[in-house]
Symmetry: C2
Subunit: 188 residues, 2 copies
DNA sequence: GAGCTATATGCAAACTGTTGCATAGCATAG
DNA sequence: CTATGCTATGCAACAGTTTGCATATAGCTC
């Protein structure tokens, strides 16, 4: 299970609580691996039981107490070993492409709207990636080794968004040509 | 569940057996939605029970008998309605990017190998897409409407592969610079 | 004749992920 | 003062996917 390894990866530098990890999985590593808090809390308990993480209760004033987790020596070794194993690429599944196989004059306007939402989303994501890049990865050659790996992942994210946005323009033009002339997407 | 709708989409033009659908999901629609035969046979039975598909037993000589499925009127309507609903994009998950977050001098050579495998795979996939494009989608403007949708999906696949391949070159160069000089990926 | 591949379908268990709900204190906005 | 949202953790049910196994016939190769 890669979720476990993604969590351990997030704990390489910092000792974090489940809640903090959940937030980390909304950004950063979460760009490449999504996880809900339910998944994360469960994985943390499992990993601790396997001896790959150790935990510490941290009482807090004005907030609920929390439990922070850190990698054990065994966890670090397990993570290193995992990286050296083979990884399988989970092929991405996207409803929208299946819908494109159903394109018709009746649904072209709808698909165009969905596409516009994707463009919005990809545009925001791209802007975020670029900000992160400018702030933290402006000179990849001078980064420490591990940070260069993160830079490459970020770069893949950037390229991916750019490609999707460019494709969306072509797709939008083609969809527009399919929509019956008498009405546009927003006509009643 | 989009698998059900992907199956119905595959049955838009043809009446197919579970086995034939399984093969179809290895190519074509399967480029955007993977499914195993166990999933497909189960989905077919479910869909028939819901009245969205109807089946017919086809005895065969020299081969096991088969059951072919076709869309019912209700199935066609259900599919049309589904296309008009909202779709959620399943964020793709990829072990390899998590591994990049763990880049070190010790594992750079291994990651480079994994990357080479991906390049190989993406390259083959791209070549296949291009062949399909050249054969069946050379003039998208003159295609019937639904085929234009499929063309757009194919185009997305092409762009995606191209982007990944270009990124892989950059990544490879950076990884090479991280690998300790005294040994290459294949050194003992 | 033994083993491999292809056709054709299916069950069952295990794993992974999503959704809904629950608790509980504190802060901030209206 | 009430509603909302944040911090912080967790259970339980369901949905979806993967993996391993099972069956049966036919043709091909060694």
């Amino acid at each position: 299970m890669a979720l476990n390894h993604a969590i351990m990866t997030a704990l390489l530098d910092d000792r974090l609580s489940g809640y903090e990890l959940t937030k980390a999985f909304d950004t950063s590593l979460g760009f490449f691996w999504k996880a809900s808090h339910q998944q994360i809390y469960k994985a943390l308990r499992d990993l601790e039981q396997q001896g790959l993480l150790e935990s510490e209760d941290v009482p807090q004033a004005g907030k609920p107490d929390k439990v922070i987790y850190g990698l054990t020596e065994g966890g670090r070794e397990a993570l290193d070993a995992w990286v050296l194993g083979d990884s399988k690429a989970t092929e991405s599944k996207d409803d929208m492409f299946v819908k494109f196989y159903n394109l018709s004059a009746d649904n072209a306007a709808h698909l165009r709207e969905e596409l516009a939402q994707r463009r919005q989303h990809d545009g925001e994501r791209l802007a975020l990636y670029r900000r992160i890049r400018a702030r933290h990865y402006a000179q990849p050659e001078s980064l420490p080794v591990r940070r260069r790996g993160i830079y490459l992942a970020l770069l893949a994210g950037i390229r991916h968004c750019e490609t999707r946005l460019a494709w969306a323009e072509e797709a939008d033009a083609l969809l527009a040509s399919v929509i019956p002339e008498r009405q546009s997407a927003s006509a009643r």
